[in-house]
Amino acid sequence: MNVLKDIYRYREMVRSLVKRDLQGRYKNSALGFLWTFLNPLFQLCVYSFLFTVIIPMPIEKYYIHLFVVLVPWIFFSTCMTAGARVVLDQQDMVKKIYFPRTVLPIAFTLSQLVNMLLSMLVILVIVVVSGHGINLVALLALPGLVLLQFLVCLAIVLIVSAVTVYLRDMEMILGVVAFALMYAAPVIYAESYIPEKLRGLYYCNPMAGILSGYRSVFYYKELPDVSILISPILFGTIGVVLGFLAFGRMQRHFVEQM
């Protein structure tokens, strides 16, 4: 409870760190904020070319099928890889000044969330312009999905950022894990490709459920199946609680480890 009170008191710090991250990151690049959109768009082009021209997938409007999950996937994988360095990168600050350390992972996850939401606007534009259309009822599930994914991501950032302070390998390990996880989640292929009997296991991966959810909303234009969201709900809630506890324990010795 004290943790929450502390974070609330430092809400302005969270806000300004998010702002600094969003404003500062592209300050001196020519294309500036556009990079937020360009990065997923480039990935979209590469994968679309690969899976419609070279290895054609029998999926209609593959680029939409892919893009609606690629954007949330990038949010997730950034949290895993870049999230590991969140505390370590701010060691000058951590070593010299007090603030609730949880502010760092929270601010990072929030700024990644903002990035994803902005990219989602591009998704909306694409589905409308391409004539694919939007189902407003299905869209109602979107805030829930975004919240779930935020919780899952926050839990992961809390844990990996704290562990990385003690074990610098974490960052490399996570790079590999994120790469593998991409294929364990329905990013470049459709959920239906997974054999029926493996599907239960498949959906234990919280990101599989969340990505399928996004795909239902935008691509199939229907409300997501609740059963696939059980894992993300459990993972998100329990994960965040455990994440705060673990982070709270590990942060006591951050300074000595830097």
Partner: protein
């Protein structure tokens, strides 16, 4: 926690593991077990003290006694292994200035970031923005990116934020190394203002002058325990007396012989009341300088003694010429009775030059010949230590 206390430190202990060569990665840890060898060093053993509301505390102790570790625990950057530290209210520290500054953002934007790191809300920052900007005195630069600032401007902005965050407890480590003299004066004034408003200041400094001018309470830490705590005057006096015993070697004169020097200065002694080996003086001590010199074989020489304070304020320049005749140029033993030096507390350096008379050339020089500390009880500013007696009579009196 007692009602009247602002800070309570109870039985605090902290030790560090000193790895001979720490492995941070799995590979390093697995391959070389040697890297996991460490020694435990107890920095703080059992620290206890309280600070009452309205008091200001000075922390003193020699280098490596654990003052900085204690400060880090007071600011919750580190946690004690044992014991507890309780602080009432918001803590601001001048340990790391400019935390979280982003070089590409403007001074104004950075104020918001920096102040928010101290736990201020947007509304609070808005209220204080003008005060912060005025105090930093940056003029139009406030809207330029921080990377275009000079280091002095950068520190001024950072200091201004830290000191204006409306803290209940302000923790300061070796202040006033920032900015020019004017800014330093402004900072001291601000700190006194804050004290009057009831802010508790915890100051770490090696300068007894700063400690006595800011703090009324003092804690002396040595080898991880509190040696003495209480009223500043008494604690600093004991501390200085102790340091005096330890000092010895540090103050021994070194003869700098430059190539162009034809003479030498050696066997230098600085005596207080006829005794040698003490380098902490009070304004009551009778000082005497003795040395031996060799100079050019021909001609005559005179001596120039000057005393400079640590902050480069020249306090005394004295030319000894022997009534314009000069002294023998070849060599000699010299005794200069300096008498009482009415100087305020602080560290001073004594320099000596042997000048060939009626020329600008010097035969030998040593600077500094000695470094010494003055200890003058009470609060003083400026250079001179005087004890004026003030009497007031009203018109009704006879």
């Amino acid at each position: 926690m007692q009602d009247w206390n602002v800070i309570e430190v109870n039985h605090v202990a902290k030790s560090f593991k000193i790895y001979t060569d720490k492995g941070h990665t799995l590979k390093e840890r697995a391959i070389s077990l040697k890297r996991n060898r460490y020694q435990t060093r107890e920095v703080l053993k059992d620290i206890n003290f309280q600070v009452k509301r309205g008091d200001s505390l000075g922390l003193i102790g020699h280098n490596g006694c654990g003052k900085s570790t204690l400060l880090k625990m007071l600011t919750k950057i580190m946690y004690p292994d044992k014991g507890s530290i309780e602080i009432r209210g918001r803590v601001s520290s001048l340990l790391e200035l400019g935390a979280g500054f982003h070089p590409d953002l403007s001074g104004r934007e950075n104020i918001y970031i920096n102040a928010s790191i101290f736990g201020m809300t947007r509304k609070e920052i808005d209220e204080r923005l003008q005060t912060i900007i005025d105090f930093a005195d940056l003029g139009d630069y406030i809207d330029n990116p921080v990377r275009t600032y000079s280091s002095g401007m950068y520190m001024r902005l950072a200091f201004s934020v830290a000191i204006n965050v409306d803290a209940d407890v302000l923790i300061v480590d070796e202040i006033l190394a920032v900015g020019d003299v004017n800014f330093q004066r402004k900072c001291l004034k601000k700190m006194n203002e804050l004290q009057e408003q009831g802010v508790t200041i915890v100051l770490v400094s090696h300068s007894m002058e700063q400690i006595t001018s800011v703090c009324n309470q003092c804690v002396w830490i040595q080898d991880g325990v509190v040696v003495d705590a209480g009223e500043t005057g008494r604690v600093t006096e004991r501390y200085l007396a102790f340091m005096e015993e330890q000092a010895g070697a540090e103050h021994v004169a070194e003869t700098v012989r430059k190539k162009e020097c034809i003479g030498t200065i050696d066997q230098a002694q600085l005596l207080a009341n006829g005794a040698e080996g003490k380098y902490i003086f009070t304004p009551q001590d009778e000082l005497e300088l003795r040395f031996h010199y060799t100079g050019p074989d021909t001609g005559v020489v005179c001596f120039l003694v000057d005393i400079t304070r640590e902050d480069f304020v020249t306090c005394l320049i004295k030319d000894y010429t022997n009534d314009e005749k000069g002294y023998p140029g070849k060599e000699g033993f010299v005794t200069i009775k300096l008498g009482k030096l009415p100087l305020i507390s602080g560290r001073y350096f004594m320099n000596l030059k042997i000048i060939i008379k009626d020329t600008d050339d010097w035969a030998a020089q040593v600077s500094p010949l000695f470094s010494f500390d003055m200890y003058a009880p009470g609060k003083h500013g400026g250079v001179l230590y005087v004890e004026p007696i003030c009497e007031v009579r009203t018109t009704g009196d006879q």
